[in-house]
């Protein structure tokens, strides 16, 4: 890890989000009053950050109510918006803990195609290795061409072992072998890659159910974590992903990737509001250490474009 203070690194991940949103909002508040038109514009700016109509509407109402008490300074209005976003995000900022006993803690990583599962797994493995945990990767994506090769390269970079089968093999079998090996070697965390799947594909969702069954038979508590990887560039469909994967795959945690681009990932706010699933981390780049802890206060302030607070 670099020696940059972590709050600053976190806000780095959200910088573009805040630049844009802050830019939009800042443009608004140089005007005189928070009239309907201004509120509309705030709401639209939030919608443009992918917050979704419902969450954006609620924040709009907060702003409409707060203007008399707080006056009209730009900071004050942004503060209310940030407070509301933080209030929504606060309960779901829960870091990933490795504490399973008996070992290993099984982390099943799922998501739609191209959301960044494999890269996120590499980053997670790296993070856990840095925290002195023993990590084993299982290449459960036996579907996509060269997915195993991709994970192998990452495993080498992170310096962790990988258990893999042939392309087209039964993913559940590889996962079984992974648990056996992790148990035998006393490895703390087994991270399972899975094939990307759209949430409306029954066949692939069945495969996921099978992996869960196999894991459950080995240890009723596993998989301990079912982590859904969300792509920040996805819009409101991310909510549908959360809803379906939560019901069918038992998702109990989220990681959002690709926040280093222009996408704002405001759908996290809507997701937190609606489903309340823990957000473990955010991905802000293609490097192996580009996974950041999720800090609600810093995130909320970054989203509305306020500078990070002094520690």
């Amino acid at each position: 890890m670099t020696d940059q203070p972590w709050l600053q690194r976190l806000s780095g991940g959200f910088r573009r989000t805040s630049d844009r949103l802050g830019g939009d909002l800042a443009g608004l508040f140089t005007r005189a009053a928070l009239d309907e038109e201004t509120l509309d514009a705030v709401e639209e700016a939030l919608i443009a950050a992918d917050l979704g109509p419902a969450a954006a509407g609620r924040i709009r109402e907060q702003l409409a109510a707060a203007r008399f008490e707080r006056g009209l300074s730009r900071e004050a209005v942004l503060g209310v918006a940030a407070d509301e976003i933080e209030r929504i995000l606060r309960p779901v900022a829960i870091p990933l803990e490795i504490e399973a006993f008996p070992r290993p803690q099984v982390l099943l990583v799922i998501g739609v195609n191209g959301s960044g599962k494999t890269t996120t797994i590499a980053k997670l493995a790296h993070l856990l290795v840095e925290q002195d945990y023993g990590v084993l990767l299982a290449a459960g994506d036996t579907f996509r061409a060269a997915a195993i090769g991709q994970l192998q390269v990452w495993a080498d970079r992170a310096g962790v072992p990988l258990i893999a089968g042939k392309e087209g093999a039964d993913a559940a079998g590889i996962v079984y072998d992974g648990v056996k090996r992790a148990t035998a070697e006393g490895i703390d965390a087994l991270i399972v890659d899975t094939a990307g799947r759209l949430q409306n594909k029954q066949g692939l969702m069945d495969e996921l159910a099978k992996i869960r069954r196999v894991l459950g038979r080995l240890n009723p508590a596993s998989p301990h974590n079912v982590i859904l990887v969300l792509d920040a560039t996805n819009g409101q469909n991310a909510l549908a992903q959360v809803e379906v994967f939560k019901d069918t795959a038992g998702v109990n945690g989220l990681v959002m990737t690709k926040l280093d681009g222009t996408a704002r990932g405001g759908v996290l706010v809507a997701a937190a509001e609606k489903y309340g699933l823990p957000i473990h981390a955010i991905g802000v780049g293609e490097g192996i250490d580009d996974l950041r802890p999720f800090d609600p206060r810093a995130t909320a302030r970054a989203i509305v474009g306020l500078p990070p607070e002094e520690a």
Binding site: I47, L198, G203, T233, A263
Partner: protein
């Protein structure tokens, strides 16, 4: 999770029934709903804004036709405007140049470039009988080049041998030379995924374009893309001369508002859509289908087309004759199930139907093998039993259950369902046959369909819900059950 636009507008216009024209206030109220619907479909905000303004101007003062409700009329105006904006269909690739024609694929990470490259290569090779070479310029993502090589084997398309350590621009030059020397007609260049803000990678892309002067540069975009679509479209079209867009993952349940954003910002046609992971799932773009989807109206046109293809005319006629007599035995029911299955099973049907909120829930928890199992039950009955299901006493039921590998409960459910369907058929007959039934659909969730599908487009036997496929239950067709599952089927599904 989304309400269809028709549902939303339904409440806005409830009080408006029977009025002569839409006044400005009514239209504005409707447009607020249109705006939210578009935003929920992930159409980018600036695009929504200009679109809504444009449509408002068009819709003010429009006469409300007597046959349709104002809500449906607004939906039709919006739909037509969407189709217009989404552009002409069938914009084929420009490949008639001195070979090799170079096609470059660009896009964000994870948008589906590599898979799309292989699908497109296969399509060009199969449908246009041209020799295609693919080359991966992705030196960033681990094993990306290997992935294209594997896909090349699956698609039976040649790929450029990988030289480790070679940089993208050099690979592009080598590919171009190989294509020339080996007499390939088309060269597809799969580039690395990149973010618009990544200056180094964006200039690399520009350099590759300069070195290979592509005839087609296709931006590959995930249909799941949200508001960021505008930034993506802008950042890529600023750096390379795009010639078109490919929309991937249209087989998901995203509304695909990104299509509209892409079209509006780049001004380039959407040429293809990816509709599945299999190598042949790449289709030409149909604006009217995507428009319907953005508005949450389902892909009615596709459904009707598929119905027309799969429902064999003879079978439908025989069925109609039988129904006219009022008989409906187990063989008829079986024919119905088989037709449903030919159309892609219940799940596929549900995905295409308008106003599918209720039925989607039912289908989601449904066993995809259900139709097969019901078919097996009927298959285990004797000819006599099929003609006269009332013969089925307890012992016969046990026998049939054993024979079909199901339980007596399953058999009972099926028989009950048949009874209800037969009852429904009788009622239909009393009401004046299938023609009336088809008319009845107009009142229900499928009302919007009448405005969208030209009169001749529907099969003669009526809507897929009528003679061709699933017999609708009278009454239910009009009220909140736009997807006409056979009566009782939903109960079976819940088991």
């Amino acid at each position: 999770m989304f309400d269809s636009l028709s549902d939303r507008l339904g409440s806005v216009f409830e009080r408006l029934r029977g009025r002569g024209a839409l006044n400005e206030e009514d239209v504005r109220a409707a447009m607020r709903e249109v705006r939210v619907a578009l935003l929920e479909a992930d159409v980018a905000l600036p695009v929504v804004r200009s679109f809504v303004d444009q449509v408002t101007a068009k819709a003010v003062g429009v006469q409300v036709l007597r046959s349709v409700t104002p809500g449906q009329q607004v939906v039709k105006i919006v739909n037509d405007a969407l189709v217009e904006l989404l552009g002409a269909e069938n914009s084929e690739l420009r490949l008639d140049v001195t070979p090799p024609a170079v096609v470059m694929m660009v896009g964000l990470q994870g948008s589906g470039k590599t898979t799309t490259t292989a699908k497109l290569a296969r399509r060009i090779q199969k449908q246009e009988r041209r020799k295609v070479l693919m080359a991966s310029l992705d030196v960033n993502r681990p094993a990306a080049q290997e992935q294209l090589a594997v896909l090349g084997k699956q698609a039976e398309v040649a790929t450029l041998p990988v030289v480790p350590g070679q940089q993208p621009v050099d690979i592009a030059r080598r590919a171009l030379q190989a294509a020339r020397l080996q007499g390939f007609d088309v060269l597809l260049l799969d580039t690395a995924g990149r973010l618009g803000v990544d200056e180094a990678l964006m200039s690399e892309m520009a350099a590759v374009a300069a070195a290979s002067s592509p005839h087609e540069t296709l931006l590959v975009v995930d249909a799941l893309t949200g508001q960021d679509a505008v930034n993506v479209a802008r950042s890529f079209s600023e750096r390379v001369e795009l010639s078109g867009v490919v929309l991937t993952r249209m087989d998901g349940d995203a509304r695909g508002g990104a299509a509209l954003s892409m079209r509006a910002v780049t001004g380039k046609p959407i040429k293809f859509v990816g509709t599945g992971e299999a190598i042949d799932r790449l289709e030409a773009f149909h604006p009217e289908r995507v428009a319907g989807r953005i508005l949450g109206m389902g892909d009615v046109v596709s459904l009707v087309e598929r119905a027309a293809q799969t429902i064999e005319a003879d079978e439908a006629e025989a069925m109609a004759r039988k129904l006219a007599k009022g008989g409906f035995d187990m063989d008829d029911m079986r024919a119905q199930f088989r037709q449903m299955q030919r159309m892609g099973g219940l799940g596929a049907l549900a995905g295409m139907m308008p106003g599918m909120k209720a039925a989607k829930g039912a289908v989601a928890g449904m066993d995809p093998k259900l139709l097969t199992r019901m078919d097996a039950i009927i298959g285990s009955m004797t000819a006599g039993e099929r003609a006269k299901p009332e013969l089925m006493n307890a012992r016969r039921r046990i026998r049939v259950a054993k024979g079909s590998g199901t339980t007596v409960q399953d058999v009972n459910r099926l028989l009950k369902m048949h009874q209800e369907m037969a009852g429904a058929m009788k009622k239909i007959k009393k009401m004046g046959g299938l023609g009336k039934l088809a008319a009845m659909f107009g009142k229900g969730g499928m009302g919007a369909l009448e405005g969208l599908v030209p009169p001749g487009a529907l099969p003669k036997s009526g809507l897929p819900g009528a003679g061709g496929g699933l017999p609708g239950m009278p009454g239910a067709g009009g009220a909140g059950a736009p997807f006409n599952l056979p009566p009782g089927l939903d109960k079976i599904l819940k088991k």
